[in-house]
């Protein structure tokens, strides 16, 4: 067997441009259906695992897809809001646990998510460095964000301005990084978390006052998750950073229960509680909708599977085209190498040896294409599905 392999290897090396082209053609033909299949399986698995870990979501009526993707991947920041009152109501039921979500702002383009510290254990997120988000103005950054920006507890991040051209616009809030999350291989790695109250301050609902250091009236800033007091004051002066010195001066105007959030995640105690809660939103007159992200993902995957059908079809057509091209190239090669084959036969080679030589050439090309395909699949395995989730969702 070494004889045809030796000759084939030398022939492939000699005709290296042709050999490499053929090898990559074969690799692309093999890779396309395998990569699309692998991507979709990984994509589905990633979507599903996050969706399954998010039992129910309450939000404004509208697109179920937008609401689910908003909660799962912090997409669609322009989602209509619901009042904090809905979260308050849900958290007072004995059907399960509720987590508010405020997702309207960004930090250097990265989603700024207002929630409660209870969100972290709910998502199995652990603090790698520092502490959680108990204090107004604090933020906890996802693992990827921390890595990309090289931020640690004690550093500062500034919320992106919402209206840079308005003189009366809200000045950007400078956040104090209080903690960094451990890597979670989810959208949480690419987000910055603050309390809902900090998010409100960043949107301009809450603000500080110069010369009004009445700390008794500013308890809200010290314990932002519980207080519902609102304070009014004169001589408004906006602050861009909440420090130990000025934290007492930050306060909110109006009824906190009316302040906006974009969604509520609800973790019911069981199926019965889930059904009971869903029943509350069945009516056409219900102000808000409740969605099960798992069901939304099921619907989304149906669309993706249709997409896969087209990819598979394209791969089959490409395979046929490549097959025809290979036949043509093979035939042309035999024509070009007719003299060489004739010489071999005249010297004393059998026809089967000539066949073995060409079969060995094809075999080596297939092995090369297989190796390239393997490398492509390996790369896709590590980065592909995450990229696809980021790209598509």
């Amino acid at each position: 067997m070494w004889r045809p392999l030796f000759l084939a290897w030398n022939a492939l090396k000699y005709y290296r441009t042709r050999s490499l082209l053929l090898m990559f053609c074969l690799a692309i033909t093999f890779s396309l259906p395998l990569v699309s299949r692998m991507l979709i399986v990984d994509f589905e698995s990633q979507l599903r695992s996050r969706a399954d870990a998010t039992p129910l979501v309450v939000g404004a009526r509208g697109s179920r897809f937008d609401l689910a993707l908003h909660v799962l991947y912090f997409k669609e920041p322009a989602l209509p809001t619901i009042p904090y009152r809905e979260y308050d109501r849900l958290s007072r039921t004995d059907l399960g646990t509720a987590f508010p979500l405020h997702r309207q702002l960004t930090v250097q383009g990265t989603p700024l998510v207002g929630t409660t510290s209870g969100y972290f254990p709910f998502r199995d997120l652990l603090i790698a460095e520092g502490r959680s988000i108990g204090r107004l103005g604090d933020c906890v950054v996802g693992a990827q964000v921390a890595k990309d920006w090289d931020v640690h507890p004690g550093d500062h991040l500034t919320v992106d301005a919402t209206n840079v051209f308005s003189i009366a616009g809200i000045p950007p809030l400078r956040l104090n990084v209080s903690g960094v999350l451990k890597e979670n291989q989810s959208a949480d790695d690419d987000a910055v978390f603050v309390t809902v109250q900090t998010a409100w301050v960043a949107t301009g609902i809450g603000h500080g006052h110069s010369g009004s250091p009445d700390t008794d009236h500013n308890v809200q800033g010290k314990n932002p998750e519980e207080t519902q007091k609102t304070l009014g004051a004169a001589a408004l002066l906006p602050y861009t950073e909440i420090t130990d010195e000025n934290i007492g001066q930050f306060h909110f105007h109006g009824e906190q229960l009316d302040f906006p959030i974009t969604a509520v995640i609800f973790d019911p105690l069981g199926d019965r509680e889930s059904t009971l809660l869903r029943g509350q939103y069945v009516s056409d007159e219900a102000e808000y909708q409740i969605v099960s992200p798992s069901q939304v993902v099921d619907e989304l995957m149906e669309v993706v599977f249709q997409f896969r059908f087209f990819l598979d079809l394209a791969a089959v057509l490409m395979g046929i085209t490549t097959g025809c091209l290979l036949l043509l190239i093979g035939w042309l090669t035999l024509q070009i190498r007719q003299a060489e084959i004739k010489t071999m036969v005249r010297i004393g080679s059998s026809r089967s040896m000539v066949f073995q030589l060409h079969a060995a050439e094809l075999g080596l090309l297939l092995i090369g294409a297989g190796v390239v395909t393997g490398i492509v699949l390996l790369v896709i395995k590590f980065v592909g599905a995450s990229l696809l989730v980021q790209f598509l969702v």
Binding site: N10, T343, S350
Partner: protein, 221 residues
């Protein structure tokens, strides 16, 4: 010994016909096939090598009846006992010089590639002035070098018969003389039969046996 009796062969496409009533070359002797281009010298060499099969008649080479042997048997006899030198060299472009010399060992498992094959290849290359080009591609060699390489390839199996088809046709006089010296030297030292086609009258006198094709070939029908 080579013994040809009542040999008949013709190409149906061209109508070319070759008839050889009787011809004999004793073992270890040299014979020239003389005649103009297209007279059938190459055809007879192909018949003697067992590449072509005669329509009628007998060819006995080294005591073996070629006309009765299967294609595989003829192929095995050819690669192990015959050294073929073609007019157009017919070298393999993707093998280097030393690999081209050893080509027969890559083509048929009848030949076992022992450790002395490579040593013999180096010796032959040195003998024919190719030792500086062992790792070179054949395309980088001159015409004379390519022909000498083709001779090395023919001699690597230490054949008992050398069948050479106008090996000096495309060579200058110096190279032609060098090639002839090597072939005759090998034939005499190894007591190998040398059958060579040529239309160069200057070479006729070197051979003990001569077969003039002018008297053998009938015109196309």
């Amino acid at each position: 010994m080579l013994q040809v009796t009542n040999l008949q062969f013709h190409y149906p496409e061209s109508g070319f016909q070759l008839s050889l009533p009787s011809w004999m070359v004793p073992e270890g002797e040299q014979a020239a096939l003389i005649g103009p281009s297209g007279s059938g010298k190459t055809t007879l060499l192909s018949l003697l090598a067992g590449i072509l099969q005669p329509e009628a008649g007998e060819i006995e080479l080294l005591g073996k009846p070629l006309h009765q042997m299967s294609e595989t048997e003829r192929r095995n006899l050819r690669i192990s006992q015959c050294g073929l030198i073609f007019q157009s060299f017919e070298l393999i472009p993707y093998l280097n010089v030393v690999q081209n010399i050893q080509l027969p060992y890559y083509l048929n498992p009848v030949l076992e590639r022992s450790s002395d094959v490579e040593f013999r290849a180096y010796q032959l290359a040195e003998q024919l002035g190719l030792s500086s080009y062992l790792q070179n591609r054949v395309t980088s060699l001159s015409v004379g070098e390519q022909q000498r390489l083709a001779i090395c390839r023919a001699l690597i199996t230490q054949p008992q018969v050398i069948l050479a088809d106008e090996p000096t046709a495309s060579l200058d006089q110096t190279n032609a003389e060098r090639v002839m010296d090597v072939l005759f030297e090998y034939s005499r030292e190894q007591k190998a039969m040398l059958i060579m086609s040529t239309h160069d009258p200057a070479l006729f006198t070197l051979f003990e046996h001569r077969l003039d094709f002018a008297s053998l070939v009938s015109s196309p029908v």
